[in-house]
């Protein structure tokens, strides 16, 4: 079967979208909060429509339920889908991180089953990586998976799992050998989130949202077919996952479908409206500040294109994804700070202008610099793997994990 031209594909996408997908109404934004169960149900339904219409998984291989087309088709589809309600919350982490990692490292059976299920809207996948005991030192995790016959039994805890409450499966990284240095004793598993032995708790954040979760594992039993990649080669899988995560967080993944802000307060024209609501639209200082935000977003868009091209052509190393990741923080800080500055007193005490949201958003400003690997980790990656500067000293390098010093608490 020959591929359609990008133009023909875009034209058929436009026709199909018009006939099948709900149009966005700026007055009535759809439910898209990541902490909203209804939003997840809605996203699954919309994804199913995309799948049935032949527009799901544009860059995923055909054998796993995708279309096997290149990025130019995805971009054409993204442009066509502007103005329609899209299941954007499935992009991260389900498609851009979890499915992308399975595609690189999963067994044929895992790919066939889970990628296609996700593309049909039947499965939501999440990452179960971070632990309460440590943040950036991911490979120092202490959740254990111990052999019991052919099975594995998991005990420990994970945290900061985005949207795990809404998920069916999670990619869980656990220690399977503590007698070797930390990177060499890890294994990645694909686990059902609702299995016996898993207790899930939602974490409440300062802005009142609770999209993140904490999971406790006590006697969770997993079969050998749940191992992703090889036993004790979990760090290889995690490295691919982190690579996809950096690209996804920086909005540079070909596996994301649809574009546009997930958060309604980041919609186009948001800052112009903000200035009008704050009554400062004619103030040159406000115009300077908002113009800077608009310019910075344009720079971000070009940086994503440029770095993406550079990584595909090999001119930039894969670690350059961290540049996009760090710039994402840079743009977000500027947006949040500018909104706070423009809102002024209206951002801290509510009145008819309803700008208290700018102040609330400011309270969780740092989430962008912490998720998907912290800003500091991104800087380490850029310094060490883009510039090739000397690596940081690590006291646990080459030391069997059970001899490494851990938290005193």
């Amino acid at each position: 079967m020959t591929e359609p031209t990008v133009e023909a594909f875009a034209a058929s996408a436009r026709d199909w979208l018009a006939a099948n997908m709900p149009r966005l109404d700026p007055q009535h934004p759809p439910r898209n909060g990541r902490d909203d169960d209804g939003a997840w149900q809605r996203a699954r339904e919309l994804q199913r429509r995309l799948y049935d219409g032949g527009f799901a998984g544009i860059c995923f291989p055909r054998e796993y339920g995708g279309l096997g087309l290149d990025l130019s088709y995805q971009k054409a589809f993204d442009a066509a889908s502007a103005g329609y309600e899209m299941p954007l919350i499935l992009n991260v982490p389900t498609f851009t991180i979890c499915c992308a990692t399975l595609l690189d490292t999963g067994s044929a059976e895992q790919k066939r089953r889970h990628i296609s299920a996700a593309l049909r809207g039947d499965e939501v996948l999440v990452q179960l990586l971070s632990e309460p005991s440590g943040g950036s030192d991911l490979a120092g995790l202490i959740t254990r998976a111990e052999r019991d016959g052919d099975d594995w039994v998991v005990s420990g805890a994970k945290t900061w799992s985005t949207s795990a409450f809404a998920a069916d499966f999670g990619l869980l990284l656990a220690r399977t050998d503590s007698t070797v240095p930390k990177h060499d004793g890890l294994t990645m598993f694909l686990v059902p989130v609702d299995a016996p032995g898993v207790t899930l708790r939602r974490i409440e954040q300062v802005d009142g949202s609770n999209e993140f979760c904490e999971e406790f594992f006590d006697g969770l039993r997993l079969g050998p077919d749940t191992v992703v990649g090889e036993v004790n080669k979990g760090w290889d899988v995690a490295s691919r996952l982190l690579y996809h995560e950096r690209r996804a967080v920086g909005q540079g993944s070909e596996f994301a479908s649809g574009r546009g802000p997930e958060r309604t307060e980041m919609a186009a024209g948001d800052f112009l409206t903000l200035a009008q609501d704050a009554g400062t639209a004619d103030d040159p200082l406000t115009q300077d500040q908002i113009g800077r935000v608009l310019a910075r977003r344009m720079v971000r868009d070009k940086l994503i294109d440029y770095a993406g091209r550079g990584m595909r052509s090999g001119e930039l190393p894969p670690a350059a994804a961290s540049i996009i990741r760090l710039f994402h923080s840079d743009v977000t800080y500027l947006e949040v700070d500018t909104a706070m500055a423009v809102a002024g007193p209206l951002g801290v005490v509510e009145d008819e202008a309803h700008l208290l949201r700018a102040g609330r958003r400011y309270l969780s400003r740092q989430t962008v610099g912490l998720g998907g690997g912290s800003d500091e980790m991104a800087r380490n990656v850029i310094a060490e793997r883009v510039l090739g500067l000397p690596r940081e000293y690590a006291a646990d390098r080459g030391v069997p994990f059970n001899q490494v010093r851990h938290n005193r608490l």
């Binding site: 186009a268 409206t273 113009g291 608009l294 070009k302 440029y306 510039l387």
Partner: protein, 380 residues
């Protein structure tokens, strides 16, 4: 198609070799001490290498290497930035961009040919004293007289103003509408005064017009076209100074990373300290962002995209806010040597600082972007 990229690479490599041989960074201080900038024979050689014809259509004697003349020209500007070479690349390019777009470009065919040959140097006088970059609102007046116009007013911050044979100006005509003219700088009633500037080898001048009478043939384009011509000239100027700035940032970054690797303190290389690595990581991010937005703006301007002005403005403001910051970080990471006359960093800092505040400051561009977004984005 592979031939095209090979030809482009050859074109850039030839420019690099020429610059290294004839305009080395090590010559800057001498050139400055002699009060020099560039010499005419050198510019003719540069013209022979094809730098001047890139924005000119083939039927007017120009031609590009890759099929996109502006991209080729931006690549030359980046090479110039690597060694902050002197030379009237952007003034000549901007004037040519205006002339070839003008409805009466045929009437200026001889000037265009002489500019391509490097025999004549032209410059664009966009600014006037005591105000920001407002090229669309000249205070200079052009009063109609028999067979031509009489000019009165002052332009300043004109690159190579005291070296150029021709100057492109905008002036208010009798009905108040701006119109552009290409004027010989040796005309009666023109006085050129050098203005000290921050760069060691780029020279700027003030040009005063006092009852300067010019022939009607000096008119460039029509009144109806003038706004679009000035927009185009502005965009070309902006993307070229941005492309040159990218070359500057490339050079200072490479210099600083090498220094941080080779310089040892407390028995270890500077580049092994996380405090230093993190700063170099931020600088790397700025560098790539500067490259990306500049390349993006070049493409938009080359394609004459309806939003080209906004993209050029985004590039100019981003580079304006980050190039100086990046170079100052390089100075800091070099330590005391970084603030000495003998070290090359200040040569780069001078050029980047010069460009930051010409053709619109970051704040001016931010406001323009705000205004453009406000006029196209319906308020929710």
């Amino acid at each position: 198609m592979t031939d095209v990229s090979t030809e482009s690479e050859l074109f850039v490599a030839t420019a690099r070799a020429f610059l290294d041989k004839t305009a080395a960074l090590s010559d800057h201080r001498d050139l400055h001490a002699r009060g020099g900038s560039y010499d005419a024979a050198w510019w003719r050689q540069a013209a022979d290498l094809g730098w001047t014809g890139l924005l000119v259509p083939e039927d007017l004697g120009g031609g590009s290497v890759s099929g996109c003349g502006l991209r080729d020209l931006a690549a030359i500007a980046t090479e110039i930035g690597h060694t902050v070479a002197p030379g009237p690349l952007y003034p000549v390019s901007v004037v040519l961009a205006g002339l070839v777009d003008a409805d009466n470009s045929d009437a200026h065919a001889r000037s265009i040919a002489a500019l391509i040959a490097g025999e004549t140097v032209a410059t664009w006088a966009a600014d006037e004293p005591g105000r920001g970059f407002r090229p669309h609102q000249p205070g200079l007046t052009a009063t109609s007289i028999a067979g031509g116009y009489r000019l009165n007013g002052v332009k300043d911050r004109v690159e190579a103003g005291d070296r150029a044979d021709l100057v492109l100006i905008a002036a208010r005509t009798d009905d108040g509408a701006p119109l552009q003219f290409l004027v010989r700088t040796d005309s009666t009633g023109i006085q050129v005064t050098p203005q000290p500037g921050i760069d060691l080898v780029k020279q700027y001048a003030r040009i005063e017009f006092t009852d300067t009478e010019i022939d009607a043939s000096a008119v460039v384009g029509t009144t109806a076209q003038t706004g679009a011509l000035i927009d185009r000239q502005t965009q070309i100027a902006i993307v070229l100074v941005c492309a040159e700035t990218v070359g500057i940032l490339d050079a200072v970054m490479a210099m600083t990373v090498a220094w941080a690797r080779d310089r040892y303190s407390f028995g270890r290389p500077l580049a092994s300290y996380q405090a230093i690595k993190h700063r170099l990581a931020d600088m790397t991010m700025w560098l790539h962002a500067c490259r990306a937005i500049t390349a993006g703006a070049v493409d938009k301007v080359a394609a004459r995209d309806p939003d080209a002005a906004m993209w050029a403005g985004a590039a100019k403001s981003y580079l304006g806010e980050h190039a100086g910051r990046l170079i100052q970080e390089c100075v800091q990471l070099h330590g005391g040597i970084g603030v000495t006359w003998e070290h090359d960093l200040h040569l780069y800092l001078r050029r980047a600082t010069l460009y930051r505040n010409l053709f619109g400051t970051p704040a001016e561009h931010h406001q323009a972007i705000y205004a453009a977004a406000n006029s196209t984005e319906p308020a929710a």
